[in-house]
Subunit: 142 residues, 2 copies
């Protein structure tokens, strides 16, 4: 019931990219050093974020990464799904047969957890990186 380290890193990466001037790219090395992320490990993270369409990559000598869309359109939920796959707090909710094995079609545990998961997802989807970046700016200036 915990987000993994790679997702943790991914939050920082996206937040970092969200604060870059539009049109600017950051190389993997710059991102890794500024965020204290092992450089090799960062490559894995960037590949997942790129595959999910959250960041764009630019190869070559002055390549790097930038957000693939506006920071207003990227949420905590997006990053979590990109890194860890579809949200599924319980086996019931990803594999229906798990639930049925124990308590039949209309399992009350399933129902309660499904409702909880939906609220969690909605909650996470309300937090955009534009909002997070704005907060970062505030306390950095203060």
């Amino acid at each position: 019931m915990q987000l993994n380290q790679a997702t943790d890193y991914a939050f920082r990466v996206v937040l970092y990219l969200a604060r870059l001037p539009i049109g600017e790219v950051a190389s993997g090395l710059i991102i890794a050093e500024s965020q204290n992320i092992p450089r090799r490990f960062l490559q894995k993270i960037m590949r997942l974020l790129a595959a999910a369409g959250l960041v764009k990559s630019y190869r070559g000598a002055v390549g790097g990464f930038a957000l693939a869309r506006r920071a207003e359109a990227i949420t905590l939920y997006d990053v979590i799904v990109a890194m860890e796959g579809p949200l599924g707090i319980h086996r019931c909710l990803t594999d229906r047969s798990v639930c049925n094995r124990h308590c039949g079609e209309e399992c009350p545990v399933h129902q309660a957890l499904a409702a909880t998961q939906d609220r969690l997802a909605a909650d996470l989807a309300e937090v955009t990186f534009a909002a997070l970046a704005a907060k970062t700016n505030n306390f950095n200036r203060g």
Copy 2:
């Protein structure tokens, strides 16, 4: 970001015990067979539930397990914490130094996830096993 199999089983166990007549105990064997849980594995689960004070155990020839308090006073949240320890969807929230390593004292990612986690916990703590047991009765009778 997923509850593990043992927690899954634990939900079923507590729900099962919640439906027993008050004063009745169920042996590990009975619980295991009725809920399709490997018998040996169930022992681990019961130990955690007992250690958390959710169930009471009775040793000896006619021993077994029963809820340690009323089903109205046991929630999904209680069982999750008993099985997996304190809720911590993000490292930030259990180990503050993780957060600070990346973005200083007032990390916006930390704040957003903390708020989300609080809502998740509150959500889970609203679902009692008395309520779940009542639903179980309904669809079993229908």
